[in-house]
């Protein structure tokens, strides 16, 4: 690889001058500039970002840490982030924790060692004090999707509680009284908030919460598939009339389980979901859902990051909440 020194020698100037023409941040005479640029072309010189990073304390890399790399929702967020940061020269390092606190901490350490400029974190740990350590060390973190109450940091999240409350209220309005839920890990803020909204809606409408209808900790498709089958078998004599899936993956798992058990949606059992499933256009019935805008979350997070690194509003902590709306389709039976 050709270095700035080789360019300087060949062009008979100092490395400083070469640096100046590359960065255009100090005056250089036209004549010298042309000579240097010509030499750069000839030699095919490209500046070494590693050296630059070391010198300038800036890597133009941002880490994105999510619980599940195969969930489309997080991929969409990543696309949103990418679309706003990539034009400014930033690259994304994408990591998956598999909902594992240890792995999350390890990844955060690795990103810290790599001196990424920012990390966008969809955390699935509740150990805020451990995350606080990273922040104290000077790591820049924006929480996405999830948030941790006691953590002094920026975040871009959805209005989980209110959206779920509205969705479940709608379900109750349709006459449902036996209402089940498939929750993620309740240690994760999104899952917790959604479940809280769920419970509050039941409470406000005097609907009893039937513990046997609640599935906990089935955060991915396969686990949900299995757990929902258990739950249905367990309650085969008195099934819930409707199920609330707390995210897209779980809705998919639940649908597959119900289909396999020959329970038709919504005739035999209704289903609603927080977030839309894949390829919803092709799947019958169309699910009634809370629509998420994952790409938008990514864009907001990207913009927030850019604002922070540019030095504006450096120290105030910002919390962006993306509103969610209910999309009523045809997976809920009127009773």
């Amino acid at each position: 690889m050709v270095t700035i020194k080789q360019v300087a020698e060949k062009a008979n100037v100092s490395t400083a001058t070469v640096s100046r023409v590359i960065n255009g941040n100090y005056p250089v005479s036209e004549k010298v500039k042309n000579k240097v640029m010509k030499t750069i072309k000839e030699l095919g010189y490209r500046p070494n970002s590693i050296a630059r990073s070391l010198k300038c304390n800036k890597t133009y890399m941002v880490g994105m840490v999510v619980p599940d790399i195969s969930n489309n929702y997080f991929m969409d967020i990543a696309r949103g982030v990418e679309s706003v940061i990539s034009p400014l020269g930033y690259s994304l390092i994408f990591c998956s924790t598999d909902e594992n606190t240890d792995k999350e901490l390890r990844l955060l350490n690795a990103l810290n060692d790599k001196r990424v400029d920012y990390v966008l974190l969809a955390s699935s740990t509740q150990e805020d004090h451990k995350l606080q350590k990273f922040i104290d060390q000077g790591m820049n973190i924006i929480m996405i999707d999830t948030s941790l109450e006691n953590l002094q940091t920026d975040s871009v999240v959805e209005d989980n509680y209110n959206a779920t409350y509205k969705l479940i209220s709608y379900v109750i309005d349709q006459g449902h009284k036996r209402i089940g839920a498939v929750n993620g890990l309740l240690s994760v803020s999104t899952a917790k908030e959604r479940y809280n909204g769920f419970c509050k809606a039941l409470e406000d409408h005097d609907i009893p919460l039937e513990q046997s209808y609640i599935v906990n900790g089935a955060y991915n498709r396969r686990k949900t598939y299995e757990e929902v089958k258990f739950m249905i078998q367990r309650n085969i004599n008195k099934l819930p009339t409707v199920l609330f899936a707390a995210n897209n993956d779980m809705a998919e798992g639940a649908m597959i389980a119900l289909k396999e058990m020959n329970l038709k949606i919504p005739d035999d059992i209704s289903l609603v979901s927080f977030g839309d499933i894949n390829l919803a256009e092709l799947i019958e019935p169309r699910l009634t859902i809370i629509s998420q805008n994952a790409v938008l979350i990514g864009e907001k997070a990207g913009e927030l990051m850019l604002k922070k690194v540019s030095g504006n509003s450096e120290h105030d902590i910002t919390k962006v909440t993306i509103p969610s709306e209910i999309i009523i389709r045809n997976s809920v039976k009127s009773i």
Copy 2:
């Protein structure tokens, strides 16, 4: 951030000694080692990978460049790669070219500047000489999914030609004579090879190739959706009896288009695909497909990279071809 120098001072040793205990590559007395490790803990010191990279010419970063970040197929490859390289300390930088040659070249340049140790490239350009430049500059490239004939580089690809040939032969055996195809960009090797297998199967069975049934360049879901609708309208008086979609995304687009036009699969028109669609478990009818193993491709690519960086077989060029098999389900009508 605390540096090695601060550790050295506090522990009353030289930076060299600290370096030695961190890396464990030179003898250090037990006593000194303990003292240093204790200091490292106390100070919360973490080595700066940027500085390391600069010194050692090794970044432990690998770039992955794909045409479409929202296609699950590439995400699965990424997961495969990640699973084998991450345990050895490598991180993935994930980039999407949107099938745009310029953007591809720009990303490659950026990754080159970042001095990534390797790049895994699913290229959608045919400008092999431009890619050759990167290789000549010393960039390490493994082609994944796609390959370029004239390029001296390792690759991990599928057996596109033969698999498609077999699938189309099966379709013909079912009595089909009016056979359409939805191709990606024929400039991309995978698309080209699949289409060649398609044509050869027709030829060998004396089936005429009806140009009007061929859709070209609709590489993503939305474009395919639109183009297939055009194609159907164009041929409304004499529809093809079967369609071959050259990848999962296009199969999805085609399915949505057909559904919207009230053409039932397989009663009104049959459909086969190279690669499986999302959430196939929930979508009727189950598609007859060539099954791909994207995760395996990723794993193979990751392993190949690891082998190369470890210095084994450094100079021979390896071509791994993953076999594909046909999965017959029920989207093809027997005529």
